[in-house]
Symmetry: C2
Subunit: 230 residues, 2 copies
DNA sequence: GCATATTTGTCCGTATGTATA
DNA sequence: CTATACATACGGACAAATATG
């Protein structure tokens, strides 16, 4: 932070917020900020996002902010109601069912091949497990969830498809919205660390079919627990 | 649904004109117009969409138009290049491969169950076949393609998932971009009318596994022919 | 149910930065 | 390198819809 402050500080002073290094538009950066706030639960489901208030808070014009809103609405993180504004999405039990229907389709498919998972494929899986273990040891429940999702993102990535990666990323972002209407979102993920570890172990030993079955069990269990909370 | 109908049903009846009678915003209507133009090939891959020219042509302000562009860029139909504008997307051979990777994942999955396809599920499939046959008989090649895609959209819909429907719709829209860089897009679809008919026949007879295999053959064949054209 | 205040939807003008002929 | 065209972003305006007292 201190090291970067020198570099970006000068550029930021000269070129406003848009530095030469940062090749993204204000619209995209604002969308990124809001996306993060929503995913972290700082902006809670059902909450209205006021153009005036948020535009003022972030120091951007209404027009710019509205473009960001359009991006987020396309990601299903917010809903846009005509003449009423945008609201953080509130998911229904049917949404949960549907999200898991797609997860059960996409994630196991990544393990359908007969060839063992490559070392490059395993690395992000191990990293996610390690991050989850650390977060759990330090009692950071929310971070356990984040690492957990990174594990499953990495699982889907084994399919080697850019579009599947995108689909999976959006599914997991939506799923975050579910956690934020639960009582104790932090506790939800804890039990799954071991199950993910088991899946990873099976993958390392090349037992793809068992890994696939363990994954299916995991998904069925997680879905059932989420639905029970609704 | 029925339990909530008392609360939301009344409200929906009063305020629901929004979703039924009409009333999408200008932004969405403009996006819809552009989406159609792109899908039909009137706006060709690589073409730049000038804010000024299109805004003037459609009679909307640049701010409104830019919001529409954001939606389309999120659908991958256009690419947004910073400070250069938006362009109709041009797909690569890798894109084709990736699109079919996802198709091969999603479409056969809709036939994975053991239960025969319901009558409601078969109806849109038959309608699509009939539309394709009509278009073929009248030499409307482009419409054969449209009907063909509707058939596969209906196939994916058998999964009963709103999100899969959306994913499929976007995949097929992207795929249209591929056809528009080919020499004779109209001719591409003609041979597949019979194959779709075959799939439908197998589904009607409840032979799901054979239908699934025929579908996989279809997809492999279509992918190969598209890649050959690249 | 009404009158008022607030907020969104849309358009316009403009200043600045960026890309390109 | 300059000139030109264009995108980016801002702020103001006003009508229309919605929320509030």
């Amino acid at each position: 932070m201190t090291a970067r402050a020198d570099d970006t500080g000068v550029l930021a002073a000269l070129a406003g917020d848009r530095s030469l290094l940062n090749r993204s538009s204000t619209v995209e950066r604002v969308a990124e900020i809001l996306r993060e706030r929503i995913i972290e639960g700082l902006l809670r489901p059902g909450e209205r996002l006021s153009e005036d208030a948020i535009g003022r808070a972030l120091g951007v014009s209404r027009n710019t902010l509205r473009e960001s809103f359009r991006l987020l609405s396309h990601e299903r993180l917010v809903v846009h109601e005509l003449n009423r504004g945008v609201f953080v999405r509130t998911l229904s039990a049917e949404d949960v069912t549907d999200l898991y229907r797609v997860r059960k389709l996409i994630e196991p498919a990544a393990l359908d091949g007969d060839v063992p998972v490559s070392e490059e494929g395993l690395r992000p899986l191990r990293a996610a497990i390690a991050a989850a273990a650390n977060a759990a040891a330090e009692g950071r429940g929310a971070d356990v969830g984040t690492a957990n999702m990174r594990f499953h993102q990495a699982l889907a990535a084994l399919a080697g498809s850019a579009r599947i990666d995108t689909i999976m990323r959006q599914l997991l972002a939506e799923l975050r919205l579910v956690f934020h209407v639960m009582d104790r979102p932090g506790e939800f993920h804890a039990p799954y660390l071991d199950r993910n570890r088991e899946i990873l172990g099976l993958l390392e030993r090349g037992e793809l079919q068992q890994a696939r079955q363990a994954l299916l069990d995991y998904l069925a269990d997680a879905e059932a627990r989420l639905l029970a909370a609704y």
